[in-house]
Amino acid sequence: MDLNWMMAVAILLPLVAGILVFIIRQYHIRGLIVILTAIALIINSILLMLHGPDTYTPTSHYWGLAITILDYAMLLFYIYAGLSLKNWLVLIFALTQIIPLAYWEFGMGASKALEEIKPAFVFDHLSIVMVLVISIVGSLITIFALRYMYDHEHHKEIEKSRQSRFLFWLVMFLGAMNGLVMANNLLWLYFFWEVTTLCCFELIAHDLTKEAINNGARALWMNSIGGTTMILAMIYLFAKGGGTAEMLTLESIIKAGGNQAMLLLPVALMCFTGFIKAAQFPFQTWLLGAMVAPTPVSALLHSSTMVKAGVYLVLRLAPAFAGSYLGIMVAICGAFTFFAASVLAIAQTTGKRVLAYSTIANLGLIIACAGINSPLAIAAAILLIIFHAVSKCLMFLCAGTIEHLVWSREIEDMEGLAEKFPVTTFITAIGILSMFLPPFGMLLGKWLALESVFAVPLAAILFVIASAATMVFWAKWLGRLLQVLPRLGRKFESLSLSYSVPLWLLVLGIFVVGIGVAPVYQRFVSFAVNNVVAATEAFAAGWNIVVPSASVAAGGTGALIGSFPVWPLYIVFGVAIVLPLIFVTVKPGELRPVYLCGEQVGGVDTDEWITTADQKAKLQLGGFYWQGATGEGAVNPWFYTVSIALLVILFAVVVGVSL
């Protein structure tokens, strides 16, 4: 297919489909459109992958004009939103965007120069990875959302359906993301960036409760800060480039590399933009607040795609800060977020908040990898993006499914889910295990990250603590699901296809990508950042991942740094967990009540015991959260202080070097 068409399908089709679903209000037709769009996007992304890296510039100048107009339209809408919500932060940060932007484009005359930029879109392997993730994972989420929103509104007994509006933003968002990861022109990048921010605001505030609107506004103003810094970066680049648009493309910034100290400041500003979008400390609150939104929003925005835009930007810019102190600071900031979010996740009682913190943590890890900036680390980062998207998306969808089964987001209410909903629990368990344990992909990524982290020892220490904390909160959650009474005879629940198809596809995806990590690596990762990853084939030996030392990578012989036998480990996993799961059976006669100091009531169907005055009491097992030690109240002041200090140091270092 023609590149023209592929670009159109990737970016514009979602918009068109979005408008269609907004207009058409029949549940089934709307569903059909969404599903067809999803299929089209998936096929298109695969075609793009087959097409390979390329560049593209739309022939018509009207596209540029349209983007400029839409930019201002959006910013004006922010001002309106700020005024109507009486949220001054939204207003202020909208103004800090629109004024410099207008001054730059019209006062400094950048608009003319911007039109000259070619190519407008560059997509390399990194972009292709992102497009695949967005198209495949994102599409599955939109399918999930069909039924979810239906149930959601029925449960809340909302009279006037707002599903169309919801699906409009959701589907359109995919297009914006596709545009974002391919854009080369910084202004266009900025445009797509703002579209995602807008979608985010609209989707978070979708339920129109007070909390939802407040949290949406918070997401809006925080990301507006990011927008502001990006505009500042553009202005700086434009001014330093002598009033030409020469430096206003990602490509040119990357090519200039870290050699030009002058570039460090704009790169740092843009990394900062990425930090905010990736909800790094101290900006994590917008993502946490976003958890009030319906779960597909969380899944789409906060697991697989939008927050990935932040890490994508940092990763994209990685060559530009190679070998500089900025890189080290980025690594430390990322590692600190990984650590802080992992620790905070322990004390969370709400499932989605755990997921949110885990997302923040993993984004921190990816950013830290980008900061470390060795080929190994970059490879780890890209693998983490892929695996995290699949696993975390599955987790969010599971959280959504569970929410609609038990009508609660609290982990405490999920107690004993294994008994009531074994299928959902099974899928959730796979999701949780895949987040932090070998042989699954996330751990492989973490393993690669640790193999490379010694370059920044401070980050290494944060990594290991965070890694341990990760184990605690996931295992704790899974433990709550598994806790059952000693009885048999549970039935499998049946899920709606709109739920089960994405869930099972994602489970399949975890295993396919996980087992096939070596081909995945060779196909996507090894070429992804062409000027960074030099040692290519050596990472994947056969079906395994090995990390060669410098001498081996240079073609010599010698020892490896590490090795990860993927297939053997999956076989071990099969023997250890899957085979017992299939073959271990329990006969009813073998069941006994649990040990309750000899005072259990007796039967296996009850968890009561006999207490004071021969009365029966019910056994309650609450989860452990250690809120006194790891709760937000206890540690947040420290984490805020440190993270703000780190950002200050980051900019101080950059400004010091630039001057």
Partner: protein, 287 residues
Amino acid sequence: MNQWWIAIIAIIVAPIIGGFLAGIDRKITARLQGRYGPPIVQPFYDFFKLLGKSRIATSRMQFVWIYGYLVFMITCVVFLVLKLDLLLLIFLLGFAGISFVLGGFSSKSPYSHFGANRELMQILSYEPVLLLMALGVYAQNGSFMISEIVKPGAAPLLPSLWPIFIAVLLVLTIKLRKSPFDLSTSHHGHQELVKGIMTEFSGPYYALITLTEWYEIVLVLGLVALFWANPLWVGIIIALAAFVLELIIDNIAARMTVGWMVKFTWAVGLVLCVLNIAYLYLIKGGA
């Protein structure tokens, strides 16, 4: 095929060594307390007796996870003898620990639940230290492969990694479930959590846990022995000395609380590791 044979022999021999070590443990502990103590082969009697007991269950999943515990622990031992990646070994050990924890969580039993949560805290305590040990090894050798540590001519790790060695001794205390860290479960019955995480495992499945613990003893002592892998017999003597040291510590300390354990292992273990790694980093000037 050579590697296969090594793996198979390790799988067979390791529990035998572990069982005897457990027997020696009980005998020495008894003697330290002024008792006569059980025969050295007592752990094997216990094991086979448990195998012959009838099975009682409180949930199906608890059994599934115990297989996970066992198989992952065996995998760790195989990783050790095949000299594979140390970092990955530690992650696998983490999975083994998590399997056990999930086994504990699988039944609705208060004591097993408390024990599982404490076991998690133990993982939180020792996992960073072990990971930092791997990083320390990397700092010294430039590789995470165990084969690099044991290859002929490689310098012993202990002289440059002695602070990490001390930290690993703390881990050893936790892993062997000795006072002051016998928190999630202990080998003698008296404990506020009954048998903690093991409360609901009985009969053959308790035997599997015992078997896994034998592998675990061999594994952690193997990790200790890595600190002087050339010649290996010195390392083995160091490991056995560490083992005896743990037994003595067990008998001269009271059981502490979970919060204290996390604070202590982080304050002492992590700081030692960090100082050690920082020193090596400065000496070697980065990777």
